[in-house]
């Protein structure tokens, strides 16, 4: 389990995360949702240590990440995979070398073993014959899939995805969502996805945390969303006339 307790974070005296406590469970796809600027990306980056929090604690299976030294954090980070909004693939490396990168840095595997692992990961995200291509030669959806392949290369316990569907068409977005859900269940990972895509919420949201103005405003399952009378959540999730109609039908 990943647990965040009473997390506070501010930038230049502007409070961005205000006393947030969250838990994310194993084998589930946990979603952080909220409007742009609500603090969800800061929360995600704080959980993985890219932002130092001002107050509070973060636990990875009861290991206090906040109090760890840089060296201790390094060990935990080998158990973390992350998919960034833009993919964050290394543009100077081809796809094979991108996925092989964490294996080169942290394993003593032979080249053929690494190659087998790379091919397994690429096949798992339904990509074939792309090994020698460079990121710039792939579409946005394919880049995201390579990013997922790289994130699972070291068989992580924890997978973080920062808006994995941004910039993708609805069909490709569904493919990425399904992939994240399948991988989470298959490898029994704790997956935390940061999104404002309502299709993702309805598709893969085993647990949903709604962040509003830096505070945890609501949490529940995707089915609970239809029953809640939380005004801010309803305004956010059912913002369009079409989604309002769907809610009424439900």
């Amino acid at each position: 389990m990943i647990e965040g307790k009473n997390i506070f974070k501010s930038f230049n005296n502007k409070v961005v995360l205000d006393d947030i406590s969250v838990t994310f469970e194993e084998g589930k796809t946990n979603l952080i949702i909220g409007q742009s600027g609500s603090g969800k990306t800061v929360l995600l980056k704080s959980l993985v240590g890219l932002h130092e929090i001002d107050k509070g604690n973060i636990f990875y299976h009861d290991r206090n990440f906040t109090e760890m030294s840089r060296k201790q954090r390094k060990e935990i980070r080998k158990e973390i995979g992350m998919v960034f909004q833009g993919g964050a693939l290394f543009t100077s490396l081809n796809i094979e070398k991108n996925v092989m990168f964490p294996l080169n840095m942290f394993t003593e595997m032979s080249h053929s073993e690494k190659l087998d692992r790379v091919n397994f990961c690429l096949k798992r995200v339904n990509l074939n014959n792309v090994n020698k291509l460079f990121p710039s030669e792939l579409s946005g959806g394919m880049q995201k899939r390579v990013a997922i392949a790289r994130a699972i290369a070291l068989n992580p316990k924890y997978l973080f995805c920062d808006e994995p569907n941004s910039g993708l068409d609805p069909v490709t977005a569904i493919v990425i969502d399904s992939l994240i859900r399948e991988i989470t269940q298959e490898f029994k990972m704790i997956t935390v996805v940061n999104t404002h895509d309502m299709n993702s919420v309805m598709e893969i949201g085993d647990k949903v945390v709604f962040i509003y103005e830096g505070k945890k405003w609501w949490q529940g399952t995707r089915d609970d969303i239809f029953d809640t009378d939380n005004k801010e959540l309803n305004d956010f999730v059912f913002a369009s006339p079409l989604s309002k109609k769907i809610k009424k039908m439900k």
Binding site: R73, K78, M82, F84, A88, M105
Partner: protein, 246 residues
């Protein structure tokens, strides 16, 4: 206060860059890549610039030595000493700050704004060390080689221009470049080159590493990298000259 903030952050970054590498084999390959990118790919521009500087130095010196009592071999001597003492180290340093420095700042800056540096950090890799240390090592190793190339090409350029303009004979020029040769000048030039290489690699990396924003900010960081490297090179040139030649 702003200056102290940047100085402190720069020192901290350089210190982090020098921490123990995760896997020496990977770093070795990175150094080899950087040797090609930052060093070998700069040979062409160093040759072209040094040749013309040497040529101009010869013609200018000849123009200023029209007195018949001054021996013409001094043209060769002047070209050699000017190339060794200043042009092959300082001017080449300034040119490399433009070519290599902007390249380093834009490469690292782009990696920052596209979250590639965050991706390295998430994997547990010391991004400063992985990205910056190989550039420092490659620059410090290869820039002295570029300095030597510049010295030879500059002196050759002077000879070629002297012959073409008919201002000095080949024998006089060759005698001049051999006359009163002081080997310490090479040591002085190499020390300067090594210090300048360190400045170019670290200042440019610093500018790129802390970029925030987008393409416009990366462009600005690239410009700042060149400007600050150039100013520092000229300032350190003055200090080192004062320390080593007086």
């Amino acid at each position: 206060m702003n200056f102290l903030f940047h100085l402190g952050r720069y020192v901290k970054l350089v210190k982090t860059a020098f921490s123990r590498p995760e896997k020496s084999g990977v770093y070795y390959r990175r150094v080899v890549e950087e040797l090609e990118l930052l060093g070998i790919n700069s040979i062409g521009i160093v040759i072209i610039i040094s040749f013309f500087i040497g040529a101009v130095l010869t013609i200018q010196t000849a123009y200023n030595l029209e007195n018949p009592f001054v021996p013409l071999y001094l043209i060769g001597l002047g070209t050699r000493d000017s190339m060794m003492l200043e042009f092959s180290s300082t001017l080449v340093g300034i040119i490399l700050a433009g070519k290599v420095g902007s390249n380093i700042a834009s490469e690292i800056g782009t990696m920052r704004v596209t979250e590639q540096i965050d991706a390295l950090e998430i994997m547990g890799i010391n991004s400063a060390s992985y990205l910056i240390l190989p550039k420092i090592i490659a620059s410090v190793i290869f820039n002295p080689v570029l300095c030597f190339i510049s010295m030879f090409v500059g002196v050759f350029g002077g000879w070629a221009a002297g012959m073409a303009a008919g201002v000095i004979s080949s024998e006089q020029y060759v005698f001049g470049i051999q006359y009163a040769f002081i080997p310490y000048y090479i040591f002085y030039a190499q020390i300067k080159t090594i210090v300048f290489a360190f400045i170019i690699a670290t200042v440019s990396s610093y500018q790129g590493y802390f970029v925030s924003g987008g393409a416009l900010e990366v462009g600005r960081a690239s410009t700042k990298a060149v400007v600050f490297s150039d100013i520092l090179i000229l300032f350190i040139d003055l200090l080192l000259t004062q320390m080593m030649l007086t």
